[in-house]
Symmetry: C2
Subunit: 407 residues, 2 copies
């Protein structure tokens, strides 16, 4: 890969993604796949004035080994120093850059029941801290190629060629060509104007239908708002939490959803792929699921806690969008969710409420933003998806027609 | 590299090196160079019954970036969670496996003054904990190839070939051929019988002379002992702290050393190579040093603290030994020190005192074991080194003649 292109990509992630401020700490979370690029990101953070950059490396084959051999008790325990590290994050609010390169099948075949229980325990332990950090720090999820991931996407290429192809796909989807920062300024403008249009409609609900059987209605909050692209921390620092990001999204009214959604793409969760699945809602909660592959994992997911069976997000992405048009299936939510309308089970976003700046997490929950230990997106967009909006003043407004924006 | 050979090497490190006990924690410290081998070591630890294995990854180019861009104040600070992690180690005494693969020149050109000061602060902060852990946990330093290290050793080979050569050199030096565990049982026997012989002599001092100008005398402790190969934790777990290890060593009487030592090999310290140097002692302390390369770094080293100018170790290795006979210069202390007689500046080993089991660190220091923030070995062995021992009953006993054991 051209070094200048990678340098520009690193700069995009550091300046537009987490937007490092002078004197700030930064935490970068990465697999071992691209040490040179991670080093470039570290350099860019310091160039932006970071005081201290900390890289937390993980390696999925070792995560697999842990999950195979540690007891549930050991897996569920957060050591005191691990809690102190979270406490340090709460106190110093480092910007967090997640560089995803995971093998979508990297944990397939492990004891998912044990793994899910351990995740449940650990997420429960850190939730109070994470809740208190919400909206207060800049974060960004982006991707770099991993060998196994590249091989899954491009199985007919030799390893090195597949990795190069995946770099190309990531950089294209992330608008990291030419002048990436200018690209993102323009892109953010477009997303903001789309949000303004939707927020002006006063929508009360969305009704989804498609030829695959999807027939689903979700209620929206009166003081909810659609967001997309750039966000701001409570202290006013703009950042882009996802690169790429094509979505306009909101958190719906927790507990207000009826009907059935058919997934249009596979979903990699906890290192395993769930495929050809559907989810049925009644009175806002998941009441049944089915999957041709890994149905039991899907059932574990929706039973993680009370909020895991309710929606935290609905997101709108035209079928005619750059990632979708590439025709690639990434088996990675960051990309696949940005190629397709999706919804997320679990925790919602309090900043999708007008006036969220003055609300605690508890208050946001009380106003209808779902709460949970998880937030898992799954894709429902198809080329024939129609979405009809119903406004609070009783009008029907086509939002999506045949997979794309109606307006 | 043959997968079975690597598997056997991993097993050697886990079973003979740190000798993982059922239910124990393990910490592995590694650069990013050999993730597959590190994964094998993790698997071997769990196979030996480890409860929890934690891998701490570092990447020297990022360490360089930190040291270039962090302020001295930031570099010198241990966060509370980092101290808590040391505290966790003190409380649970995990076995520690260090997998060295560092580029010997990886930090060349950085501000060594700043780096040394920061190291001084950090080592001072954790010293009380490390002192309390001494002799209570199993540890092992071993090596795996890193690309830059391989390239330095085999500059004329292409990268992949150089790495393969370095694997061969590491595995050969580490006696990791055939049945490595049987090799080490036999090797430990030999080292122990050599120690018995030396400990029976009742040595009071050693006098070193060689044609390069070395003319040096060091005093030994009356209740000192020579050690080599396998050691035991205070709770009785045998382990091998260095793989490879060819040395018979002891901690001399702190403050009892006179004369000049000429280094016979370069020394990589803090990511830079110090070369063609000498160290002069008077009344047990370094009073002058000289080096053709990186003299100022050498001066920083001996001024790290009061104990850094005194000896913590003298080690005897015949010139005719496997690593030495390979003719390879590793630019890595683990190997070069095991190919050559050496001494170490800085902290000594309390377990080189008879009856150390009942001594605190302070008591060991009071009895003449040197104390310091550092422990840095440098090589003084040559093919014409003579070492004459003087016994407490006034006899002169040749210990080394022309670079090899006299007896």
């Amino acid at each position: 890969m051209n070094p200048e292109t990678l340098q520009n990509y690193a700069k995009l992630l550091v300046r537009k993604g987490i937007n490092v401020q002078p004197g700030q700490n930064v935490v970068i979370l990465a697999e071992l796949d691209q040490p040179e690029f991670v080093t470039q990101c570290v350099e860019e953070c310091y160039a932006a004035g970071a005081a201290k950059v900390v890289v937390d490396w993980t390696h999925l084959p070792i995560t697999r080994s842990h999950s195979e051999h540690r007891t549930l008790e050991v897996m569920s325990r957060l050591e005191k120093w691990e809690m102190e590290k979270w406490q340090w994050q709460l106190e110093t609010l480092p910007a967090k850059l997640y560089l995803d390169s995971e093998d979508p099948d990297g944990l397939s075949g492990i004891d998912q029941d044990k793994y899910t229980k351990a995740q449940q325990a650990i997420r429960t332990a850190i939730k109070p801290i994470r809740d208190r950090m919400e909206n207060r720090y800049a974060w960004c999820i982006a991707a770099v190629p991993g060998k196994a991931w590249a091989k899954k996407m491009f199985p007919h290429f030799p390893a090195e060629h597949a990795t190069e192809e995946l770099w190309n796909a990531i950089l294209y989807a992330s608008r990291a060509w030419g002048d990436p920062i200018a690209n993102w300024d323009a892109h953010n403008e477009e997303l903001i104007s789309r949000c303004s249009y939707l927020n002006g409609l006063g929508l009360e609900s969305l009704h989804y239908t498609a030829s695959n059987g999807t027939d689903f209605t979700v209620g929206l909050l009166e003081d909810g708002r659609f967001c997309g692209g750039m966000e701001k921390t409570l202290s006013g620092v703009p950042f882009n939490p996802n690169i790429p990001s094509e979505e306009i999204f909101t958190s719906p009214r927790s507990g207000d959803a009826e009907g059935i959604l058919y997934a249009s793409k596979p979903l990699s969760w906890q290192g395993e792929v769930i495929d050809r699945f559907w989810v049925r809602f009644a009175q806002g909660r998941v009441v049944d699921v089915g999957a041709e592959k890994n149905e039991s994992l899907l059932r574990q997911m929706v039973s993680m806690d009370a909020g895991a069976a309710k929606l935290g997000e609905v997101a709108l992405i035209p079928h005619d969008s750059p990632i979708s048009n590439s025709g690639l299936l990434f088996y990675n939510t960051l990309f696949d969710e940005n190629a397709s309308c999706h919804v997320a089970l679990g925790k919602g976003f309090s900043n999708c409420l007008r006036g969220y700046e003055n609300l605690t997490q508890e208050q946001a929950t009380a106003r209808g933003i779902n709460d949970s230990l998880i937030h898992v997106d799954f894709m429902i967009g198809t080329s024939d998806l129609n979405i009809l909006g119903r406004t609070r003043d009783g009008r029907d407004v086509p939002i999506f027609t045949q997979g794309n924006w109606a307006e």
